[in-house]
């Protein structure tokens, strides 16, 4: 450890504000980009699954009406 106590670690020798806001903003942006990427994948799958269900329904209706 380069610090004597946890309070020391947080204080970063009077530069705590700069160090921690730099890391805070970085974490926020990185996490947001990862979450958006994963969410995008889920969205594409959902849209395609919905389309597939709709097409299936249409083909069933066609079968019943005998066309």
């Amino acid at each position: 450890m380069a610090f004597d106590s946890f309070a020391d670690f947080l204080a970063m020798g009077r530069h705590g504000f700069y160090v921690w806001s730099a890391y805070g903003i970085s974490a926020l942006l990185i996490i947001a980009s990862m979450v958006l990427a994963v969410r995008g994948q889920g969205r594409v799958r959902q849209t395609l699954a919905r389309q597939q269900r709709r097409e299936q329904q249409f083909s069933e209706v066609d079968d019943e009406s005998g066309t």
Partner: protein
């Protein structure tokens, strides 16, 4: 021999379906390894590396600032290559990559600027200076945003890729300017202390955590690109049989 292997990779990874299967096997490993590496490097740098003899503890911003900046620059180089391949050979996967590489690169460029400003205040006494390094880095962020915006504005994906690809290629010049801005002109920003060739001038106790965080963040970038590319491939190939089957079976 090497040429043949490269050519085979080009054709295999150029196939959307092959890419999808390939990334399915890589991602479950890549993402956790990337996160673990990044966290290791950052904890080491923040808590265990020694303080700088001049800057004290504010220098610890380096462990995110340098990995983010280098990641943003490398990402843009990759974007330029994807742009070239998309514009000249109209390869589908290059168009997909053009879309997948940009978002995380833009985030890294923003991180580079913000952490740089927060490091500059206690060290140089100012958050910002319109000098060569900082201005060219700001332009890099704008280039990323421009590539993303072009793809969102143009409806036809193939035409969008062509326009974005051209912008990506042109922007590579700016990457060269960023890289050499600290050597060619007087700037507030220091030169690089990490050297690919020759001896680094950074202390090993700081170098190792820095290299580890760098590796971690680059791997995470790769994971991010793969995830985004997979969604894009799936969407573009939505009318193909293999995607239909994938959706029906609910497989990953």
């Amino acid at each position: 021999m090497v040429w043949k292997t490269l050519k085979r990779w080009y054709h295999q990874l150029g196939s959307p379906r092959y890419f999808y299967t390939f990334s399915s096997t890589v991602l479950p490993w890549l993402t956790p390894i990337a996160l673990l590496t990044l966290v290791t490097g950052l904890v080491w740098g923040l808590a265990f590396a020694p303080a700088d003899y001049q800057q004290g503890n504010s220098y610890r911003i380096i462990f995110i600032h340098v990995p983010a900046s280098s990641g943003a620059l490398m990402g843009y180089m990759a974007l330029g290559v994807a742009g070239l391949v998309a514009v000249v050979w109209r390869m589908k996967m290059a168009e997909v990559m053009l879309k997948a590489i940009a978002p995380f690169g833009a985030a890294l460029a923003a991180i580079s600027l913000v952490t740089g400003a927060l490091w500059g205040k206690p060290t140089w006494g100012t958050y910002w200076q319109w000098d060569a390094r900082m201005t060219s880095m700001l332009i890099l962020l704008f280039m990323y945003v421009g590539v993303i915006a072009l793809q969102n504005v143009i409806r036809d994906p193939r035409q969008a890729a062509r326009a974005a690809g051209l912008l990506a290629m042109v922007g590579v010049i700016n990457v060269v300017i960023v890289k050499y801005s600290v050597e060619w002109v007087q700037t507030l920003h220091q030169g690089s202390t990490l050297k690919m060739f020759g001896e680094s001038t950074i202390d090993p106790a700081m170098k190792y955590p820095l290299l580890i965080s760098m590796l971690g963040l680059w791997l995470l970038y790769a994971a991010n690109v793969l995830i985004r590319a997979r969604s894009e491939v799936m969407w573009r190939e939505r009318r193909s049989k293999w995607v239909g089957k994938l959706v029906r079976e609910g497989n990953r």
